[in-house]
Symmetry: C2
Subunit: 234 residues, 2 copies
Amino acid sequence: MKYHLYYWPGIQGRGEFIRLALEEGGASYTEGGGVAAILKLLAARAVARPPFAVPVLRAGRQLIAQTPNILFYLGGRLRLAPQDERGRLWIQQLTLTILDLNLEIFHTHHPLGDGYAYEEQKAAARRRSRDFLSVRLPKFLGYFERVLDLNRAHAPWMAGARLSYADLSMAQVLAGLDYALPRATRRALRRRPRLRRLHDAVFDRPRIARYVASGRRLPFNNEDLFRCYPELDL
Amino acid sequence: MKYHLYYWPGIQGRGEFIRLALEEGGASYTEGGGVAAILKLLAARAVARPPFAVPVLRAGRQLIAQTPNILFYLGGRLRLAPQDERGRLWIQQLTLTILDLNLEIFHTHHPLGDGYAYEEQKAAARRRSRDFLSVRLPKFLGYFERVLDLNRAHAPWMAGARLSYADLSMAQVLAGLDYALPRATRRALRRRPRLRRLHDAVFDRPRIARYVASGRRLPFNNEDLFRCYPELDL
């Protein structure tokens, strides 16, 4: 199967969760077409099951949208999830929680949504970040460290004996967090050795390392979902 | 199978999406235990695959968390989703988008998260609501109306010939929206006859109507995720 990924050019965004799965799974995929192709896809009248937003994965004639849904689909095909239903639900449950954390990180700089520029919501961003860093982030990271500890017989992975798309997604969020809020992240990870190890293990995987080295992985930047504003990194 | 649902008492919240599926599916389920039972569950050390948050569904010895994940699980068992993989992914894609809308409605009154009371974030809530009502809500509702139009051969349902958990979830969000922002909702639905019809069709289903009439469906209230603050209903 050849895949095509539609996502906004110039940023990693939610598309990066899909790219990491495609890369680690050794899938053959293309991107491109830019903003015009996305707008055309989203407005297309001939699509029976239209997507609301990107990322969208085209698999043959099938269009699949919603990041966790695409990952669920790919997990079964690229050996990035267990075969049994319980195992698949558990990987999906973890991934949905990782994506919830991802969204909360976005909200630290855009609590009023992307209808306003960051400069128009700086005061709100500061307050939201304060709560995020003192309450939400420790809660999320403590939970994920506990999940890793429960699966320590199969370290460094989150669930079962093999790497899954939950591991890829967790490592991506940790990488983004470290770009956006480096001081807070370093402090928060000091007592989370299993999360640090998971992050390193994912980016050491041969296919992921090749992808990063290829230059195709876009650098983090302040147009993206993870943004570095030092005034929020308390 | 007998199910047990863990969710915060006194509110519909995310638990209501699960309740509607259980009710429409004719499932046998219990609730109860209150906050103490939830805190005990979330902190339990003997759970191999611990949930991060409620709702949590106990199915035999299996614990399943994350609203869309529970719905996916129940969809297959309670005949609230198609059997084929493409159909299941489509229902799940729609539901994830419906739950995204649900979260954005929550953010209209809590843009800074629930670490602050509404009274501490009124100005931010007003700005976020303005963008939500002028940009995001029309975009979401226009999309869902289009999905219904594409499936008009099987009206009033969103996908295929039968009711699915996407229909239940859509109707629930419309009901909550009408409680929280009645003026804006009425105006937005004026030109969305298919969404109005879907809402009514779901709440007219015999099992759902019996559930509502039983008094077990909690009333909307301002401790819940949908909240009515007239100053936000522009």
